[in-house]
């Protein structure tokens, strides 16, 4: 392998190394949580720097490693940076939650790092088999993290639901993958795409291929938690330890979109006319159901779970815009850019929101009922203000990140000359308006409710504070100066097409 190839997989290796290091530290210095945390933070910062360097080094070009199974292009770099940021923030938010509950840090960190490496691999895979492996590498640690609070009934309940349904969908996905593989005769994505292109719409799809498409659609729909494959989400999110919920709401979701980019946009693009109607319907269902049910939730984690379902719907609009646009057009690219931009913006604001919940739950026994937030604006003005900021961003109020994300998705949708996509855009904004209700409800509880009886001051740890500041800065900066992120997303999208 050339030095370039090593550099290309450098970030991935770094995260693997961090995962191993955490295990080693656990054995060599058991119980040294702060050490592990420190090492992880430093390591992740290093990995981010490395990724940045790699991205700069390769620029717009691409490098294939492992005989083309792994590719380092702008998309890989974009996703790597995003995943590493998610990992960093999750690590920052976790100790304050884990420590009071006597949950070991090292094991947690290594599991998380493995999951992140899976996500990163997913974003770089150009081989169906690698895609599957990466997916499993992503989700298996995820199940474990969900059930990480072993003695907590809810955590394990969430985990087993997540696990059973996840495995079920993995099997479905795998079956679809196998069928496509059998049809295309290769696991290499470019070759698959080439074979499918040669169909050229002239012959009808074989039953096996059609079945394969259906299975793959259902499989990824499950992974991104699109309605009606979303059932696991609320239970898994509610049950998991809060920092894990934060992670689950962004990491696996964005990774699943990475999977969609590599599989559907790269490999199955020639068949996009076949699958686009399903994306449109899924998008519409997902955002609408997510928001409607979120309206009625009283548990903040569950509410945010449904809200994350709704956001999946919005992201899917970007995908639909891509898929509905004529091949090779600018519009096609805009859809993907929107998808990527939305993922990035969503990650920061959603993690931020969960981080506030985490910070409140530093004291054990604090539930995740909405009443937890009562009078937060008085008890901890800064924390309240940050939560308000994240909520505003999630609502899509300018000039915050979430606003641009929605605007981008809508730009992409209205560019497609199709009543369906215009309809989807309108549905998006109607949903955004409805969603404002439950986001604002939290603000109401924080600022406008009767003063809460919990008068104990909220103490926010240094790490959590740093993470919150990072999320907030990202949310504001992406809002005020979205230019660089847009440019990066454009480059990433260009790499894919």
């Amino acid at each position: 392998m050339s030095a370039q190839e090593w550099l290309a997989i450098g970030p991935l290796l770094a995260v693997f190394a961090l995962a191993m290091l955490a295990v080693v530290l656990d054995i060599a210095r058991p119980g040294r949580d702060r050490l592990v945390t420190g090492v992880m933070v430093v390591g992740l910062l290093g990995a981010i720097a490395l990724t940045g360097y790699t991205a700069w080094y390769f620029g717009g070009g691409e490098v294939e490693v492992f005989g083309g199974a792994y590719v380092r292009d702008a998309l890989t770099s974009f996703l790597d940076l995003l995943f590493l940021s998610i990992a960093l923030l999750t690590i920052l938010f976790s100790p304050d939650y884990l420590h009071p509950r006597r949950l070991p840090m090292a094991e947690y960190a290594s599991t998380l790092m493995f999951a992140i490496s899976g996500a990163m691999l997913l974003g770089a895979a150009r081989d169906l088999l690698v895609l599957f492996l990466a997916l499993e590498l992503l989700v298996l640690p995820g199940y474990m993290l969900a059930g990480y609070a072993k003695r907590d009934g809810l955590s394990t309940e969430g985990a087993i639901k997540y696990f059973l349904l996840g495995s079920f969908s993995s099997a479905i996905f795998l079956f679809g993958l196998a069928l496509v593989w059998g049809f295309a005769g290769s696991t290499r994505i470019p070759e698959v795409a080439a074979v499918l292109t040669s169909l050229d719409g002239a012959v009808s799809l074989t039953p096996a291929l059609t079945m394969g498409l259906a299975l793959l659609t259902a499989g990824v729909a499950f992974k991104i938690a699109a309605v009606p494959f979303h059932y696991w989400t609320p239970d898994a999110y509610q049950g998991s330890p809060t920092p894990v919920t934060g992670y689950l709401s962004v990491g696996p979701k964005v990774a699943a979109f990475a999977l969609i980019l590599r599989l559907f946009v790269d490999a199955l693009a020639p068949l996009k006319a076949d699958w686009v109607p399903f994306i449109v319907v899924l998008a519409a269902l997902t955002m609408t159901l997510g928001n409607l049910v979120a309206l009625t939730q009283d548990n903040i984690k569950r509410m945010l779970a449904y809200s994350s379902i709704a956001h999946t719907g919005y992201i899917l609009v970007g995908l639909a815009a891509y898929a509905a646009a004529p091949p090779g057009s600018d519009t096609e690219r805009a859809g993907l850019e929107a998808l990527l931009f939305y993922s990035a913006a969503y990650s920061f604001m959603n993690l931020g929101a969960f981080a506030v919940v985490t910070a409140l739950q530093k004291r054990t026994g604090v539930t995740s009922q909405i009443t937890t937030f009562a009078g937060l604006g008085r008890r901890a003005p800064l924390l309240g203000a940050l939560m308000f900021l994240f909520l505003l961003s999630l609502t899509g109020i300018p000039p915050l990140a979430g606003f641009w994300a929605k605007a981008y998705v809508i730009i992409a949708a209205v560019q497609v000359d199709s009543p369906w996509l215009i309809g989807l855009a309108v549905l998006t904004v109607l949903n955004a308006a409805a969603a404002a209700f439950y986001y604002l409800r939290i603000a109401v509880v924080m600022y406008m409710g009767e003063p809460s009886e919990q008068t104990a001051p909220v103490q926010v740890g240094r790490l959590v504070s740093a993470g919150l500041v990072l999320s907030a800065v990202a949310t504001i900066l992406i809002g005020l100066v979205p230019g660089p992120v847009i440019a990066f997303a454009q480059e990433a999208a260009r790499a894919l097409l």
């Binding site: 600018d330 604006g377 008085r378 003005p381 505003l392 609502t395 899509g396 109020i397 300018p398 000039p399 606003f403 605007a407 809508i410 730009i411 209205v414 560019q415 215009i422 855009a425 309108v426 904004v429 109607l430 955004a432 308006a433 409805a434 404002a436 209700f437 604002l440 409800r441 603000a443 109401v444 600022y447 406008m448 979205p482 230019g483 847009i486 440019a487 454009q490």
Partner: protein
Amino acid sequence: MTELPILTLVTFSPLIGALLIAFIPRHNVQLVRWAALATALVSFALSLALLPAFDARQAGFQYVEQLDWIPAFGIQYKLGIDGISLVLVVLTTTLSWISILASFGPIKDRVKEFMISFLILEVGMIGVFTALDLFLFYIFFEVVLVPMYLIIGIWGGANRIYATIKFVLYTLAGSLLMLVAILATAFAFQAGHGGDWAGAFDYEQLRQFGFDITLQLFAFGAFFLAFAIKVPMFPFHTWLPDAHVEAPTAGSVILAGVLLKLGGYGFIRFAVGMFPDAAQSYAPWIIGLSLIAIIYGAIVALVQPDMKKLIAYSSVSHMGFVTLGIFIFQQQGMEGAILQMVNHGIITGALFLCVGVLYERTHDRTIAKMGGLAARTPVYAAIFGFFMLASIGLPGLAGFVGEFLVFVGTFAVSPVAAFSATIVMTVGAAYLMWMYQRLIFGEVSDFLKGLGHHLTDMTPTELVTLTPLVALTVIFGLFPGLVLELIHVPVDGILLQFRDATAGVAP
């Protein structure tokens, strides 16, 4: 840019103040208050500084500042004003400092947060009037929502949460659709320029573009919804009474004084400016809705038991003149509409201040409980009466000229519409005089007697808030030319373009 970016200064000076206030310890309430007032006065002074160098006879925008913001979509940071913007900016800065001063007494809890919210609100409002990039405009338009949401929701009355959420959701639903329309027009522009995004959100360029009629009809519809909710036009008005009733005094003042004008301004500048053909085809409907609003609002106001609700419905009626004046597409009508916006801002703002003064003492707004205030608080009675008369449209005071210009314009286009609209001259006088008679005249009510010496006449602070408005009401009543001269050229421009654009379209 070598010269001073004065518009940016005007727009963002309250934000700077807000940031500074954020660092003042919250227990130092007096300092927070005075700092907020000083900030608002600075932006007021800055906005006045725009006047001397402003050339009222020059067409187009002045003080233009232009920077690329998001080149990928041609989104710019572009500010500029014409006469219409200028008068509304000055109105905003004026009412802002008055509102802040008026909050000194009533707002006792979380003063720091209140002042910060209020100053951010001011940024949003000024920004709406100065933005020349559609995206930037939209951002300011939305930014306004958040502080207003907090102001009603935190410092409001008993049913504040229902009111504030209704306000936000209602407004948001409309404005988000407008976002879709903005993006769609920008894309149409981009497609029409060979895929080049440059200028796709630039108001001045979009105005020249000439969108095809299908897009116009759709986009105008979306813009209409956003602005009609903001104005608010019948039947999108029901958030207003709730919001007014629950909002604290300063909130009501700004809500009536400036926020409603965002809708009227949006209609003139964007909806009509960019989609003249669609405006033409929708105009009969909008005129119809305006007439309904004018009469309906006035009649419903007749039977309101709550002072604020009464004034809220009167706002629906008065703002109906604004939309009526705009959509008859006639010089006097449109100039009258703009003048009416300014005057309504001053007068209704003042009326809400008056209600606030009384509420401070009685903690009640039920008209039936009051009576005989003239005997106990003569100065208050006089000032309240003054604004009541101004609101009725007494000649010589500000309310008259705008209203009459709208009437004249309407009559020239459709005498029938003018006939129906003038009914309100009577009904409008009836509800206000009824309220005034019940509050001010007659014997002192038992409820007020029960208050004893708490029922004092106006304090010096309250006088300071209301006196400038009295002066403005008289000045604009006697010399409406001060405003009309400023808006004449831009209105001419809009109507000229409108006529050019619709010349080829069969009615």
